[in-house]
């Protein structure tokens, strides 16, 4: 029996690994997800039916919770809009953290009830509690910020100091608890402090830095799952957790690199306030373009690049972009999409939205390929992107985003920026692109502007 259980465990872990491996290509990704889900299903089955040394099984409660949770999960997953994906992922992530938090508390209570325990499992459980709690409240705050329920302007004064003090107190309290181990009192305090730390550490991070924060929180939940795996000596939990932890860590690094900033700088809520070094653009004039001229420019181009940003998601303009692409491709204009790694609110956000609108993924260019393609581009349309196309990053050492790799759209011949008004981007940094001689502005709601462009184009193709 034990041999059989161990075999199924091995299969289950292998399925996770194969699943993640298959996620590395768009063609096999879908089956990769299902493979991982199958591994998960097997793991749950063993957990349900492997013989236990003690306990009353309590199957009724377990089944109830599984069915209810599964039902809620399916309904929510079926309903959510693709533009709301960052919120959804944050929320789910928080639930995973909460799960780790709950079982750690229960296990610590059991340790204290039984009175005999080793230090190593106790430490592991305490860490799982700490990290699970941070991931839980952190994800909820991220969810709140992304859904707009928590305003970006709600910031803590002296947040860095508060965070540092909280973190040090947490470490000190944990070390002390390991020395004395007498009651649960300090454990509850550690839990509450971790929950507070989760809030304070996400609250001050700017909206444009959300891709980094979501990745970190993802990694934290993975680590807490892996720690819980050590508690139960369970390889599936350990492997699953570590794989998730690695994926979160890698994405965090990639996102930081894409912004040319250190993790510390992102967490400290850098950006914003420091705009004093930015170019003075106060009384420069912008050039506007009308729909007719814009559509003629597009019609007689060879290569057109669309640069989507969070504004495209807000305006729900991805389907119109695809219609524009189709119309232009009919008259043999090449259309590509240039996607910056941090465009949107989570890694790969724009790719998913465009895939939803049926855009072929071979037309989605990453930073490097896009910058090569931009040299031969006649017209670039910026749809709701700002900081990722800000030329200050290249040539203004005083700018807060100096050194960040950007989409160098000024390499092309013309730029059309779709924009609601002249407000600066999420980071509050002025963008000299708007005043450049190659740039024309098309003011208004992105979706409406694209619709008018589409109608106008239909009359001339």
């Amino acid at each position: 029996m034990t041999a059989l259980i161990n075999l199924v465990y091995l299969i289950s872990v292998s399925l996770f690994i194969v699943g993640l491996q298959r996620l590395s290509s768009p063609k096999t990704a879908s089956s990769g997800n299902l493979t991982a889900a199958l591994g998960m299903g097997l793991g749950v089955l063993i957990a349900l039916f492997a013989p236990m040394e003690s306990g009353d099984d309590n199957y009724l409660i377990i089944m109830g919770a599984l069915v209810l949770g599964g039902g809620i999960g399916l309904v929510v997953a079926g309903k959510v809009l693709m533009t709301k994906m960052p919120e959804m992922v944050s929320l789910f992530n928080g639930l995973g953290g909460a799960c780790a938090l709950l079982i750690s508390i229960a296990e610590l209570l059991n340790f204290h009830d039984s009175g005999t325990f080793e230090l190593a499992p106790y430490l592991t459980t305490l860490l799982a509690l700490l990290i699970g709690s941070i991931a839980f409240t952190g994800s909820l705050v991220a969810y709140g910020k992304l859904s707009g329920n928590i305003k970006d302007s709600w910031k803590l004064p002296r947040a860095n100091m508060i965070n540092m003090i909280l973190l040090l107190t947490l470490i000190a309290a944990s070390v002390y608890q390991l020395q004395v181990l007498d009651t649960m009192d300090l454990v509850y305090i550690i839990m509450i402090l971790s929950l507070i730390y989760g809030i304070t550490f996400v609250l001050n991070v700017g909206g444009a830095d959300m891709p980094v924060i979501i990745s970190i929180l993802n990694a934290l939940t993975g680590v807490s799952a892996a720690l819980a795996g050590i508690i139960y000596d369970n390889m599936i939990m350990l492997m699953g957790g570590i794989l998730v932890g690695s994926s979160g860590a890698i994405l965090t690094l990639l996102m930081c690199r894409a912004m040319n900033r250190s993790l510390f700088n992102v967490l400290a809520g850098g950006f914003g306030g420091t705009s004093s070094g930015a170019v003075q653009v106060g009384n420069q004039m912008v050039k506007e373009v009308n729909i007719m001229d814009a559509s003629i420019m597009l019609r007689y181009s060879t290569n057109v690049v669309i640069v989507p940003g969070y504004g495209m998601a807000v305006a729900q303009a991805q389907k119109i972009c695809k219609e524009l692409e189709d119309l232009l491709e009919e008259v043999e204009v090449n259309v590509r999409y240039a996607i910056h790694p941090v465009a949107g609110r989570m890694p790969g956000h724009m790719n998913v939205l465009l895939a939803e609108a049926d855009v072929d993924y071979s037309k989605l260019l990453d930073l490097e390929d896009a910058n090569k393609f931009l040299k031969d581009t006649d017209v670039t349309i910026v749809v709701g992107a700002n900081d990722v196309v800000n030329p200050s990053a290249l040539d203004d050492p005083g700018s807060p985003i100096y050194g960040m790799p950007i989409l160098e759209i000024l390499r092309g011949k013309h730029v059309i920026v779709l924009k609601r008004g002249m407000s600066s981007g999420y980071s509050g940094i002025e963008n000299p692109l708007f005043f450049h001689e190659k740039t024309s502005m098309l003011f208004g709601d992105a979706k409406k502007s694209l619709n008018s462009l589409l109608d106008e184009l239909k009359t001339i193709v």
């Binding site: 996770f16 993640l20 768009p26 063609k27 990704a29 879908s30 997800n33 991982a36 889900a37 793991g43 749950v44 957990a47 349900l48 306990g55 309590n58 409660i61 377990i62 919770a65 599984l66 209810l68 999960g73 399916l74 997953a77 994906m85 992922v89 789910f92 639930l95 995973g96 799960c99 709950l102 079982i103 229960a106 080793e118 190593a120 390991l178 939940t221 807490s224 799952a225 892996a226 819980a228 050590i230 369970n234 939990m237 699953g240 570590i242 794989l243 998730v244 690695s246 994926s247 979160g248 890698i250 994405l251 989570m346 890694p347 790719n351 998913v352 895939a355 072929d360 993924y361 989605l364």
Partner: protein, 101 residues
């Protein structure tokens, strides 16, 4: 110090597994292209729901009178299952869109 000695003597296998898993994870994930970062993240998110296995073991090993463990455990199963099922389902929805081509 005692802690370190204890971990090294009693939990060596799991430490090996831990280190291998970290390298494997980095190796696997760094191959995922930018296009798939959102599904990767939501798929990984679903996988982090493996903690429900711990929650299930917790509830099964508790006595039927141990209301605290049962309460905490069943809530953990509920939340974890939403994460696992919802996560895989939403990832599947996204990846269907990539597969059409």
């Amino acid at each position: 110090m005692n802690l370190i000695i204890e971990i090294l003597t009693h939990h060596l296998t799991i430490l090996f597994a831990l280190i291998m898993a970290i390298f494997l994870g980095f190796e696997l994930i760094s191959k995922v292209p930018t296009v798939l970062h959102t599904p990767l993240m939501s798929g990984a998110n679903a996988i982090s729901g493996v903690v429900i296995i711990g929650a299930i073991i917790l509830v099964r090993s508790s006595g039927s009178e141990d209301y605290i463990s049962l309460g905490l455990g069943s809530l953990a199963i509920l939340l974890g299952t939403i994460n696992v099922v919802g996560g895989h389902a939403v990832t599947n929805r996204m990846l269907q869109m990539f597969r059409k081509k």
